[in-house]
Amino acid sequence: MTTAPERTAVAPRIGVLALQGDVREHLEALAALGIEGFEVRTLAELDDVDGLIIPGGESTTIARLLLIFEMHESLRARIEAGMPVWGTCAGAILLAERAPDLDRPTLALMDMLAERNAYGRQVDSFEVDLDISGLDGGPLRAVFIRAPRLAEPGLGVEVLARLEDGSIAACRQGHMLATAFHPELTTDGRLHAYFLAMTEEALAAARASR
């Protein structure tokens, strides 16, 4: 009766918050890794996933819809209780503790500042090669679209990549990952694989503690 819990071969269920935004691109990036992703629009669908991606989109819209459809509190509680989460662009804004120019509350879980549209309007959107700590295989092509500037990381936040001007492009705080750019717009699946591994680790740890 004291045998160590065995890891099952069952793949973790990764959800993509589907209130608004580039949901399909994330689902396709997961599919390219051989993983079926699930759209999450309701609390029941949220209960059914082991990890969640909050996609790119319009942060003002997603923040409102989380409140209107009464998902804000439950989502926050799930993440606080350890569910791995990854926010890309708008998703990163929603994870940030401080987003001063967003007129609705964020989930306020990652100890950082997100300054919306900090790089300018759409004509200033850009792509650049980024070295990301923890990712093998050279730089990753990072697409920034009306992107937020992530800054003021707290002590628990590990910065994984910076732009040349020093602002944060990718960071992690325990089971939470944030990227100011959109890995789902390229065919480079390394960050999706990274998040999948984060979710597998969290599942294994949860099984071990049972």
Partner: protein, 308 residues
Amino acid sequence: MVTTNGNMADGSGERGETATWRVKAGLAQMLKGGVIMDVVTVEHARIAEEAGAVAVMALERVPSDIRAAGGVARMSHVALVEEICNAVTIPVMAKARIGHFVEAQILEAIGVDYIDESEVLTPADEAHHINKHPFRVPFVCGCRDLGEALRRIAEGAAMIRTKGEAGTGDIVEAVRHMRAVHDGIRRIGAMRDDELATYAKELGAPLELVREVKEQGRLPVVNFSAGGVATPADAALMMQLGADGVFVGSGIFKSEEPAKMAAAIVRAVTHYADPTVLAEVSRGIGEPMRGRSAASLPAEEQLAVRGN
């Protein structure tokens, strides 16, 4: 007002490469599952943002008023577009006349986030659309079928919307155009590769793009619905027919309670396949715009036939 910064014309900026196809088409990808609302004042723009719009379209007049006013419909006043850009944090789009590349240059210089080369304005060129490739700002264009969509993409459109019949509040043309696009995509999917060249010729579209549609099973860019959406049910109908999102023109600010109608349409687009939510959001939102049946329009008042 922030406008184009010190970026070079070749698309390299201080932080990386700007105005790439991925960046232009990418913004439209971020708008998916959202509602883009026509606004004619700063006050409207704030109501739209508050209701959860993913972007606003800055205009002098909504399409139903353009119809009523008659005359020549042109690009909006620069000052109005700038005021609206400064009033909201969501992306701002603005319309240029079909073929009027100088209106487009001006809108780019102001710093709008997307240009709609639109049949709602009086066309400036009866033969040519704007060559959209050299612009740093992305474009959205209207279409009535797959061939028209692919011609616009070949000219550089990074986003497509089906035209519908703007300013009518009648969904019938929007449905016709969305069905036509998807019918074309399904036909391509069922074709052998050696049949694609002939079909491309029939469509009047580049073979390369027809091949891409076959590979992906959809348009190479995001496709919203426009022209006739007046209720949450209309918006959800277009989503169920395969739209990636919805433009609402006159349907919001010509309704009895614009703020409620706007918020209800936003919710309907998120839960477009859930009739329980659709029923709930359809309650207590006042009268939709009165509208005018598209079939009752004399030929000279039909907007969708402009540009091909």
